[in-house]
Point group: C2
Amino acid sequence: MATITLKRPVRAAAWAAIGGSQEAKGPLAAGFDMLEEDSFLGCQTWEQAETELQRRSLHRALEKGGMAAADLDMVMSGDLLNQCIGATFALRDVDAPFCGVYSACATMGEGLLLSALLLDGGHLNVAAAMASSHYCAAERQYRAPLPYGSQRSPTAQWTATAAGCCVLSRNGDGPRVAAVCPGTIVDLGVKDMTNMGAAMAPAAIHTLTAIFKDTHTGPEDYDMILTGDLGKLGHDIVVELMGRDGYDLRTNYHDCGLLLFDRKGQDMHAGGSGAGCSAAVLCAWVLPKLQRHELHRVIFAPTGALLSPTSSFQGESIPGICHGVVLCDD
Amino acid sequence: MATITLKRPVRAAAWAAIGGSQEAKGPLAAGFDMLEEDSFLGCQTWEQAETELQRRSLHRALEKGGMAAADLDMVMSGDLLNQCIGATFALRDVDAPFCGVYSACATMGEGLLLSALLLDGGHLNVAAAMASSHYCAAERQYRAPLPYGSQRSPTAQWTATAAGCCVLSRNGDGPRVAAVCPGTIVDLGVKDMTNMGAAMAPAAIHTLTAIFKDTHTGPEDYDMILTGDLGKLGHDIVVELMGRDGYDLRTNYHDCGLLLFDRKGQDMHAGGSGAGCSAAVLCAWVLPKLQRHELHRVIFAPTGALLSPTSSFQGESIPGICHGVVLCDD
């Protein structure tokens, strides 16, 4: 049984989401704490800008929660940059224990579930989970430098320029982490780097099915089931394949990659992606809705494609992972 | 207080270390489970070979412990390759929950401490922590492709071609994880990519000092204090600076980077390094010694340089981290 039900109340005490210019044009803009038109965020490079996204989201979350960095027993953070420098450089000046986490675009799920378990186990009182991505840094690293003006495949997704930070606490009355389901790596052989939704969908199906089976629930027991960044293709694969298994996801299933951008007004092809996509959607939209009791019970299940440009150049397929976190408003 | 004392017995149930040709010539060779002359381990690329190091160390550890992958409630693993593909591709065929961890060369410490806490908290029964590095893959990624024949700085270290895997369990009578100390990132401004020992030493001092203060112990309370891969320079900095603070480390303090290779017979400059270095020294040497009661109380404190080639090219300094794990033979 992969799903772990928490024994103690572990709650989101504060959270923040920072986005870029495309996020500012998207339907969730109002939920962001800060939206930056400048893709450099005042820095010299896009990698430094991504670090700045993480730094700001952490400090904004702490500020909203009336906390200081000294109150943090742990920060768990990661990103898509080589050697996770978005996270490590953001934490350089923060005097709190740090554990780097990496599950590609499912990183926020991993940080959230590990933090929640350490609080539930009584080892920590306050922990922050955080993740980011930056469109320009990701394009340069994974695909081609932006000035090349490369054409994008219709199945490709748009990496969010965003970060989300959620501070968990054993106190307060914020949204509660009820259960978590650490993902298992699933690789069905998809090799197309420009269709990561298809590569990640089997992992999402694995985790959602595990949560339903382990907790004896079905889609109807949740207001919302939210995968990470499968985009249009991955979303439709999940609906179809889970439907065959008797799970009807047609009414309350969404994908962070489809929520972050306006797919008609903004030309994002298959939707948004990146570790910052699910992290920001969680902090800009899901947690506020739980806080206002507009949602009651949500599965937050970010998905990650565990590839690197090197692995794809070497002809490897794309392993996927999906970490599940059940959030409640009670 | 950063140090967390475990409440329940969490024990190393099985472990394995795999090394390459240089490790086979080193003083710890006899402790390795497998030593491979072929740097490709039968694969097409060095990245695939690193994946193979992880795969073999996991399966060998499971085999030694009389376990199967299905017995694992969690695998926590990471490596130095971009997007941690050494870990993720090794776990592709393993049907167990996975959390990617990244603390550069301190990754084994992070995986071990998080696994131990999740077992202590009662959330898991069996978890594996694992890390790897590969000399050829690391040189290509961090410095220059091997065929260039680049000269190495005297302060440079040699990345181990090695992996270590430790399976923790709530049962058995193996070496026990008594306490853990998640590291805090420390960056004192060192920018020299070829002198990472100096960059990481302040983080080691931070963590060792925290353990001594938090647990009211001193160096004399341990048979051995072992940092990750500071090498000769970092080791000497730790001895000197901690000596000024009243901690005499001259007798029982060692560094994994100085133990793995024969510094006179093998031309390793400042010593060994890489995420596989501390992981392999732990599994080939420390855990067996604890198991045979030749050691009784050890601080295992691997150190990591949280840089990337990109961050250094952009003129950044090198943030360091050190995760501490206290191991006992009782």
